[in-house]
């Protein structure tokens, strides 16, 4: 369904814009300097974290309180390894929330398609119509294109009807794919 493609592109555009915006507003919590200091004499190994910027990312600014004093400070600091790290919490938050919403929408649509729609159709049209729309359309030609199968009667060319027909076409395509992959095992063993 090409509508889905358009909506999808829009969603992706949102992601790009969001991530660009969020990347610019740097939270002060999103930067840190991490200094790893190995054991020295009697002092055990320690890790120090501080939210300082790149120019302050060295042993003297980060290691507080300094466990040694005087001349030992230089020897201690020589062994320490300081790394500057950055992350973008806004991007992470935005990405996870967008992903969960897409997943949720897909799940809702899946529940609708598999459970609700047959029930609704049965209530509206009665039992006989349901048999006609059933999945078993009999022996079809193995790799027929979906648009050859679709009936061509179009009485009212308005938007709702077009959407309905597009959806029907998409569903038949998926059905064909499902037959090739799951039932006949012709493609993608």
């Amino acid at each position: 369904m090409q509508a889905a493609g358009g909506v999808r592109l829009l969603a992706l555009g949102c992601v790009l814009v969001l991530s660009a915006q969020l990347a610019e507003s740097k939270n002060s919590e999103d930067i840190r300097c991490k200094c790893i200091c190995p054991p020295y004499k009697e002092i055990e190994g320690q890790i120090y974290n501080q939210n300082v910027s790149l120019k302050d990312c060295n042993c003297l600014h980060v290691v507080e309180p300094m466990p040694v004093e005087g001349k030992d400070v230089e020897a201690y600091c020589l062994r320490c390894e300081c790394k500057y790290e950055e992350r973008s919490s806004g991007t992470i938050k935005g990405t996870i929330i967008i992903y969960l919403s897409v997943l949720g929408l897909l799940l809702l649509y899946m529940v609708y398609l598999t459970l609700l729609e047959p029930i609704l159709k049965r209530r509206l049209f009665g039992h006989s119509q349901l048999i006609q729309n059933d999945d078993d359309v009999g022996d079809q030609q193995p790799f027929a294109n979906a648009h050859d199968v679709l009936s061509r009667s179009r009485s009212r060319p308005n938007v709702l009807n077009k959407v309905e027909h597009a959806q029907q076409r998409w569903r038949r395509q998926v059905q064909e794919q499902r037959k090739s992959v799951f039932d006949r095992h012709v493609v993608l063993s």
Partner: protein, 768 residues
């Protein structure tokens, strides 16, 4: 070539679509002359000539006005625009996938209370715990048992964590397989065998569609997070090719020409590997070596551009918080020694053997899935495999975490303050040297325990990956292969290191290892093992080495990596010529003509159809067939095309006409033209035949006739014929003798003949 192939001015699509308003995209796409049926091969020569015609027309028109000139510039630049868009979208999707996988993998074990969207590492990012023992603990992130019952230790908490881990894994994989089943069945599997076939000229409609793209992205995250033994690199190539297909539809230069479209798809595959590994150059080489069929130099440059843009985009999203593209970037530069080539070559042999074992086991299992009852229960199969994987993986700390983290830990050398069990070496307290200069030390008990656990993890991974690859969810095999190799390599590395320490007076170690000096780096062995196993399975050579050194940044390790890759390829090739992707192509019967040489001495007459006991060739004559005859021929046979001869007596070849074009032309003629009835004569000549005026109006079909079909004589050796098919991308070839038409050879016949010559089942070739 007849101008039929170059006709782009009067295709029915253009006539009927007009300006194209919003509602038109909801209409069915009307098939026009020159498109292909699903599951058929394209005609490369026709596509190429259509493109040259289009280009010539644009160049000719560009001299007319400024607007036309601008249009010609836009046409020339459209290729680069498509590459840019592909790079941006692939990078974005890869970043989304990485972040989501990171979060959901940790979701199986616990949750971050302050902000639920943080993974374990991100949650504890701002913690102030300073002592080294506590650095992974922070109060904001709690395991499920702790959250629900308040207890952190004890058997009850362990069992509850175990139970919830398995439940989450089952939930994720159930969602994944349901989504694939309901929305996009083509989204399952790795995707690389099918993309290889598509790039060689096959059409699978919907395989690179928008729903497949959406579902593959979403379910890939679920599949990887559920703890199954699969990777995301192969599916990322599929995702990138879907992006390529998506953007091709924006420009008619690519959407209408299947040959040009495949150039874009080759470049998109390179972008896919580039974001999967953070290796742009490796991605281009992978596309060249593994995926693409025809790879002209122009595509090389464009692939590089797409791969670079994708890598930049991924870097700017920064999923791993440290400006690295991949989780296992290692930075050490310790040297290696010539004597170490022996264990590296041994690792190469292991990689080759494992590759053979995996390919044989996986193909046997997939064949069983195709042919027996097992294939009728895909959802149950996925749930069962996930359940087994989760239940067996939780107790072992090395398999409980995600495979990427495992590889990262195995690749990394033990630095200062490493608290993992692998680095539990006995320190000599009298040493005066600082500890990040790790000289060789004897292994402590933690290392031996870790070795046992790693050995168990190795066996587990070897067995479970055979059953996992090929299930009905997106699954790749790069990461599991690298994990197997990394585990084996690390074990060998630690063994060599301990041997060097305890026996440092042996001759080989005397010159190599000085006490207190850097000697053996087990992390390097893990890298070499990973490269060997990946090479054994996929049979990649150059691209593998380039990917590995782009992954690690260690240019000085090229020689060991090459040694291992070459050895594993030799060993694996001794058992079977095909890599995993070619094996899956053969299993599915795709019409993929391999690049291997054909060395048998058969002739064209041995392969051509019709054989002696078959009905004669169905041909059309140039001016004496009626419309009714044609329709009967189409209804009774299912050939894809018919030769056109001068007359049934002389049988001199005029040309070849495609079935699809015939059907469309006759249907259009019946609807549109007056006077065309079943008795009308169909003619392919330039001028209408001489008929009495009382006969119905004849129908001219010259525009759909291909006037230059490829022909060979009946004594042409099959070697040459196979070469022609492969180099030119033909679909069929006519066989003549002294100008008279004898028969036809199609690509399916060639493939079946090759299968027969190699004693394989010729009936397994299913497609044309």
């Amino acid at each position: 070539m007849a101008e039929a192939e170059g006709v782009s001015s009067a295709t029915p699509t253009e006539e009927m679509n007009g300006a194209g308003n919003l509602m038109d995209f909801l209409d069915e796409p009307i098939p026009d002359v020159g498109t292909y049926e699903d599951f058929h091969t394209i005609d490369w020569l026709r596509e190429k000539s259509r493109d040259t015609d289009r280009h010539r027309k644009i160049t000719h028109r560009s001299k007319e006005s400024i607007w036309e000139f601008v249009k010609s510039l836009l046409d020339a630049w459209s290729g680069w625009v498509v590459m840019l868009l592909i790079g941006l979208l692939s990078g974005t999707l890869a970043g989304v996938i990485d972040l989501a996988v990171d979060w959901m993998t940790d979701l199986k074990e616990g949750v971050c209370l302050s902000a639920f969207w943080y993974s374990h590492e991100q949650c504890c990012w701002t913690s102030n715990e300073t002592t080294f023992a506590d650095r992974d603990k922070c109060p904001q992130w709690q395991k499920w048992a702790e959250l629900m019952t308040g207890y952190n230790e004890g058997a009850g908490a362990y069992l509850l964590n175990y139970f919830l881990y398995v439940m989450w894994a089952l939930f994720f994989s159930f969602l994944a397989v349901s989504l694939v089943r309901v929305f996009a069945p083509y989204a399952c599997g790795s995707g690389i065998p099918e993309i290889k076939t598509i790039l060689s000229g096959f059409i699978i409609r919907g395989y690179l569609g928008k729903w497949t793209l959406l579902i593959k992205t979403v379910t890939l995250v679920l599949a990887v997070s559920s703890g199954l033994s699969l990777g995301k690199e192969g599916p990322l190539v599929h995702v990138a090719c879907c992006c390529g297909n998506l953007f091709c539809s924006l420009f008619s230069k690519y959407s209408k020409n299947e040959g040009k479209r495949r150039e874009v798809l080759s470049a998109a595959a390179a972008a896919g590997v580039s974001v999967a590994f953070g290796a742009p150059i490796g991605g281009v080489l992978f596309s060249l070596e593994e995926v693409s069929y025809y790879f002209p130099l122009k595509t090389l440059w464009r692939s590089f551009f797409a791969a670079l843009v994708a890598a930049f985009t991924l870097r700017s999203i920064n999923p791993f918080g440290n400006n690295r593209l991949v989780l296992f970037y290692v930075e050490y530069h310790t040297p290696w020694y010539m004597a170490e080539l022996v264990p590296f070559i041994l690792l190469g042999v292991f990689g080759g053997l494992w590759g053979t074992l995996f390919i044989r086991g996986n193909i046997a299992w997939c064949r069983r899935r195709k042919t027996t009852q097992l294939g009728k229960y895909p959802v149950l199969e996925v749930i069962a495999v996930t359940g087994i994987t989760a239940i067996l993986a939780f107790p072992n700390p090395y398999t409980r975490r995600s495979t990427s983290e495992l590889i990262s830990e195995l690749f990394n050398d033990c630095g200062a303050l490493e608290s993992s069990q692998l680095c539990d070496y006995i320190n000599n307290p009298n040493m005066s040297r600082p500890e990040d200069d790790i000289p060789d030390r004897p292994a402590g008990p933690g290392v031996y325990m870790a070795l046992w656990q790693l050995a168990l993890a190795l066996i587990f991974k070897i067995v479970i990956t055979i059953f996992t690859f090929g299930m009905k969810i997106p699954s790749g095999l790069f990461i599991p292969s690298m994990a197997v190799g990394a585990i084996a390599g690390r074990i060998v590395g630690i063994a060599v290191e301990q041997m060097a320490y305890h026996h440092h007076d042996w001759i080989i170690f005397k010159n190599w290892c000085r006490p207190g000096a850097d000697c053996v780096t087990p992390g390097l062995y893990a890298m070499v093992g990973a490269a060997a196993c990946l090479g054994g399975v996929t049979r990649m050579t150059v691209s593998l080495v380039v990917i590995m050194f782009e992954l690690t940044g260690g240019l000085e390790y090229i020689v060991p990596l090459m040694a291992a890759a070459v050895t594993s390829k030799w060993v694996a090739d001794a058992f079977g010529k095909e890599g995993i992707y070619e094996a899956h192509i053969r299993l599915n019967g795709y019409p993929y003509l391999d690049q291997d040489e054909f060395t048998h001495r058969t002739l064209a007459t041995d392969v051509m159809r019709p054989r002696r006991n078959e009905p004669p060739l169905s041909v059309l004559t140039q001016d004496s067939t009626t419309v009714e005859d044609v329709e009967m021929l189409i209804k009774e046979t299912d050939y894809n095309g018919f030769p056109v001869v001068m007359s049934r007596e002389s049988e001199r070849l005029i040309g070849f006409v495609q079935r699809r074009d015939l059907i469309l032309a006759i249907k259009t003629a019946r609807q549109k033209q007056d006077g065309v009835v079943s008795n009308s004569v169909v003619y392919f000549t330039e001028d209408a035949p001489q008929i009495p005026a009382s006969n119905p109006q004849p129908l001219k079909l010259r525009r759909i006739l291909n006037l230059s079909p490829f022909t060979v004589t009946d004594h042409t050796p099959m070697e040459t014929v196979v070469d022609i098919f492969r180099k030119l991308g033909l679909r069929q070839c006519l066989v003549t003798r002294s100008g008279r038409l004898l028969g036809i050879i199609t690509k399916k016949d060639v493939l079946r003949h090759m299968a027969q010559m190699m004693n394989q089942d010729p009936e397994s070739i299913m497609f044309n």
